[in-house]
């Protein structure tokens, strides 16, 4: 079953879905720079109808962390 979070990352970073996992991070993915972060935030807002605080954005260093943040915000990622 498609993972909507992985899909958002794949589309925004222009990477194949199979290259993205919860371990994908700003450290190991050069495509994930500040500009990509802007577009990711917009994509999350569109897809999951959420807004993020500055504290949450500061923490968003990996797909796994983004997933945790979205779960805490009660977003359905199924």
């Amino acid at each position: 079953m498609a993972d909507p979070l992985i899909q958002v990352f794949a589309e925004t970073l222009n990477l194949p879905e199979e290259k993205i996992s919860d371990a994908t991070s700003t450290d190991n993915t050069p495509e994930w720079d500040s500009l990509a972060a802007m577009f990711l935030l917009g994509a999350f807002e569109d897809r999951f109808n959420v807004e993020f605080s500055l504290e949450e954005i500061t923490k968003m260093r990996s797909v796994g962390i983004v997933r945790e943040i979205l779960i805490e915000k009660k977003v359905d990622l199924s």
């Binding site: 500040s34 500009l35 972060a37 802007m38 935030l41 500061t58």
Partner: protein, 306 residues
Amino acid sequence: MEDLFTKARAEIAAKYPLIANGLVDHNNAAPEVITQSKKIIADFITHKGNDALSGGLDAFSKISLDFIRLQSRFIRSGKYRAQDAEEMIRDLYQNSEKMEGYYLDGLFLSYAFWPNHAQMLQFYKNRFLANQQEKKSCLEIGVGHGLMALSMLRNLTDVAYTGVDVSPAALKYVQRLMERQKIDSNRFALHEVNVMSARKMANISKPDGGFSYAVCCEVLEHVMQPETLLNRIHDQIQPEAELFLTTVVNIEAEDHVYLFKNTEQIRELTDMCRFQIKEELVLPLPGFPEGPSQPFNYAAVLTKSI
């Protein structure tokens, strides 16, 4: 031994990797810009103390991350979120906790780390201040973090500086900056004034014939009627005096209220307010695609026309 700028940059990159690749470094900046950035870090430490640098870097990173958050929304909405300049005055500029907590430190250090801000400061020094050597008086609208004033008072020994700002916290910040830098207190005067009020501006002591030149950096986008602001400046300066102006196109911030959608709108405004462009610096924000919503930093040296 690693210099403080390099260490500071490394600290930001370690704590906030998301903003690391957009910072001034030896690969993307000329040697004189790196020298300037090192000086700004040294000035910050002189101003706030060694122990304050980490907090300052956090403040800078906060405004950088906030830019990412807000610009993300701007890209999709096409308009600035803030629409009420008076509310900004109440909620931010007169809020000493926010101003002293992160805003002023963050903006001060942005001139060390944001490539466009660093280049605009170079442009200011090399293409504007360099031509004001024998001028006697300057008016700055929007003293803010004080870096423009500091550069001026360090390099131009004859000028008497008058700075106005709507924020008491900014004035206090700059007062302390000047004291720590041992700038003679007889050379500068700071006033808490909302420049949009003609009555309050009239109370500012103006030299006979007007100020020799003026500076107005990153203020135009913070007022609802930028033409009123430029007309006020026009009234305060001598005929053919120069104005150094900076603003932004399509760049969101928590306190930006007036949206310039392209550089042509800025030129039309300055022309309407009887200023001629002598020289411009138009800096696209790196990484953004070209197009109608492309963000820019804009700086210009203007001459007052009659």
